[in-house]
C-alpha cells in the first residue's frame, strides 16, 4: 500500500491483445512496471516491441485487456470514457513527435487549450496561466506566433508548455526529438531535465540510444516483455552538453 501511494505509475500484469479477426496480436504480455514521483524514465524498443501500446495505456488513451493500471493510485481500467478524458486533462501532459499543435492558432491559444476543457473550475485565468507556461519554456516573447512562424524546436517547446500548463503529475513524451536536429534535440532534453529537477515525473519514449542516456532510468521492451530495466548511475546532463556542442549543421532560428 505504501508503495502504491508514492508511485505515480504502477501496472500489474498489464496485457494488451488486439483482436484482428483471424489473428490475435499480443502487444503487451503482462507488464509489471512502476514509476516513482520525480523519476525520468526512457522507454526504449524497436517498432513492434509494444512501447507505443504501453505509452497509450500509460496516457489513458487506451485500456489494458487484462491486468491493472494505477495512475496516482487511481485504478484506470474501471473508468468511463469521460473520466478518462478528465484524467488526461488533469494528470497527464502529452508531448508528441509531430508536435501536434493546432495550425493557424497562436502559441498562447495552443497552450491555453487544455485549460478550456478543465472541469475543476479552478483554472480561471486561462490566458495568464498559458503565458506563464510559455515563459517557463523560454517562449515568453512568442505568445502570438502561429506554429508556422516557429522553428521545430520552438514548436516542441510550445507543446511542452501545453503539457505543463495543467500542472500534471506526469509528462508523457512520445519520440519528442524525432522530428528535430541533434542540437535542438539536446535543447529540448535540457528543458525536460530542468522540469524533472523541479520534481515533475517524465516518461520519454524513444528508439534512440543517444536520447535515452539523458534519462535517469532506462526500460527496454521487446515483443511485449520488459527485457531491461536499469538505473543510469551517471546520466548525461543536456545543459552541459550544449556548451561543448559541436554543430554539424546549425539550425537558424527565426
Amino acid at each position: 500500500m505504501e508503495d502504491q501511494k508514492t508511485a505515480v505509475i504502477r501496472t500489474v500484469g498489464a496485457e494488451k491483445v488486439y483482436d484482428m479477426g483471424k489473428t490475435r496480436v499480443r502487444a503487451l504480455a503482462g507488464v509489471d512496471f512502476t514509476v516513482e514521483q520525480g523519476e525520468m524514465v526512457a522507454i526504449m524498443g524497436a517498432s513492434g516491441s509494444g512501447k507505443s501500446t504501453l505509452m497509450n495505456i500509460l496516457g489513458c488513451l487506451d485500456l489494458p485487456t487484462a491486468g491493472s493500471y494505477f495512475l496516482d493510485g487511481v485504478r484506470v481500467e474501471t473508468l468511463s470514457r469521460n473520466q478518462l478524458a478528465d484524467i488526461r486533462n488533469q494528470k497527464i501532459g502529452f508531448v508528441f513527435q509531430g508536435f501536434n499543435l493546432l495550425p493557424r492558432t497562436s502559441a498562447v491559444a495552443n497552450v491555453e487549450l487544455p485549460l478550456l476543457y478543465d472541469r475543476s473550475g479552478e483554472k480561471i485565468n486561462t490566458r495568464k496561466l498559458a503565458s506563464q507556461a510559455l515563459a517557463k519554456v523560454g517562449l515568453g516573447d512568442r505568445l502570438d506566433h502561429e506554429p508556422s512562424e516557429l522553428s521545430g524546436g520552438q514548436q516542441q517547446r510550445v507543446a511542452i508548455a501545453r503539457a505543463l500548463v495543467t500542472d500534471p503529475s506526469l509528462i508523457l513524451a512520445d519520440e519528442p526529438t524525432g522530428n528535430l536536429d541533434s542540437r535542438t534535440s539536446v535543447e529540448v532534453l535540457a528543458l525536460f531535465q530542468e522540469l524533472n529537477d523541479q520534481g515533475i515525473t517524465i516518461i520519454l519514449v524513444t528508439h534512440e540510444e543517444d536520447i535515452s542516456k539523458y534519462a535517469k532510468r532506462i526500460v527496454e521492451l521487446r515483443d511485449g516483455y520488459i527485457i531491461r530495466d536499469e538505473q543510469v548511475a551517471d546520466h548525461r546532463r543536456a545543459a552541459v552538453d550544449l556548451e561543448t556542442f559541436t554543430p554539424v549543421a546549425v539550425e537558424v532560428e527565426v
Binding site: 496516457g59 487544455p114 495543467t166
Partner: protein
Amino acid sequence: MKSSRLIKIATQSILKNKMRSLLTMLGIIIGVGAVIVMVAIGQGAQSMIQQQINSLGTNLIVISPGSSNSGGVSGGAGTYNRLTVDDADKLRNESIFLSGVSPEIATRGQVIGGQGNWRATINGVSTDYQFIRDWDVISGRFFDQSDMRSNRKVAVLGMTVADNLFPGEDPVGQRIQLRNVPFDIIGVLAEKGQTASGTDQDDVILAPYTTVQTRLSGRQFVPQILASTAIPSDIEAAQEEIKAIMRESHGLAQWEDDDFTVRNQSDLAETAQGTTEVMTMLLLAIASISLLVGGIGIMNIMLVSVTERTREIGIRLAIGARGSDVLTQFLVESIVMSILGGAIGIMIGFGGSYILGEATGWSTTIQPATIFVALGFSAAVGIFFGLYPARKASVLDPIDALRYE
C-alpha cells in the same frame, strides 16, 4: 465548457477558413434571402388586393339575383332575375342600416363622340352610387335627383373612356351618342384602376338608371343592386335587414328560399386572398427547397471538415476534451455558421425586396415575424444538419485520430 468559450472556439475556426465558410453559408444565405423576398412579395400582393377591393367602395354590399328553383332543381345563381328598381327603392326607404342604395343596370354599347368611337360599359345607377363606390368627380359634376326624376340624358365618363374619346381635352359640356341617343357629358370620374380580377373600372359611362332603363336597356329587371353602410360594423346587421326587406318585397312565403343573394366585400376579399395565399405558399415551397439544399451544403462541409480535422480532434481528445465537448464544438460551429448565413440572408432579403419593389412597382412589405422565423429556421437547419457530422467527430478514437494523416 462555458458557452462563451464554445462560441469563441467555433467563431475562430469559422474565421480560419473564411472562403470555405462563406461558400458553405451561401446556401443558407440564398435560401433565407429567397424566403424573405417571396414572403414580402406575397404579403405585398395581399395588401395590394386589399386596396383594390377597398377601391370598389367602402362597406359595399352586393345584392344579386338568386337561383330559380322549380320542383327541387336549382338553376344556379342568376337564372331567375326578379330584382327590380322597386326593390332598390324599398330598401332605400325602409332600411335603417343602409346609407346608400343604387341599382346597377349595366349594358355594353358603342359610344360615338369626340375623336371617334369606343365600346364601353354603360351603367345606369342612382345618385347614391357615387357615395357607395366612394368615387370622386375630377371635372364637372355627378348627376343629381332632378336629373334622375326628369330622365335627363346626362352622362359621367370614366377616365378610360374620357381619354379615348377626348384625348387631351375636357369632355365636360360635349356630347356623345350612346346607341344613337345623344347624352350630355356633365362630369369625369377620378381614376380607380383595375379590380383584383383585372377589369378596368375606369372603362365605364355612368348615367341615371331611369334614363338607361327607358332609353337604352328597356329591361324591367335590374342585374344587381349595390348598397353600403355608414360603418363597417353595421354590415352584418344590414345584410339581415336586406334579406328581410327583400323577402317581403318579393312576397316570399316562409318555406320558400331566397330568390336573391346578398354578399359583402369581405366575401369577395376572401376569394381573392385565397388565390394569393396559394401563390405565396408555392413561392415559399420553392424557397424552402433552397434552404434544404443549403442545409445539405452545411452538412457536406461539416463532414469534410470533420475528416480534415481528425488530427485536431485527436489532439483535443488527448489533452482532455470529452466526446461531448467535441460534439458541442462542431454543433456550435454549424449553428453559428447557419445563423450567420441567416442574418446575411435577411439583409439580402431586405435589400432584394426593396430593389424589387422599386423596380417593378409591386408593393413589398416585410413583417418582423418573418425575420424571427427565418433566424429560427436557419438555427434549426444548423442543428439538424450539424448533428450527424458532430456526432461522427465525437465518437472518434483518440489514438486513431492522432495517427490520422
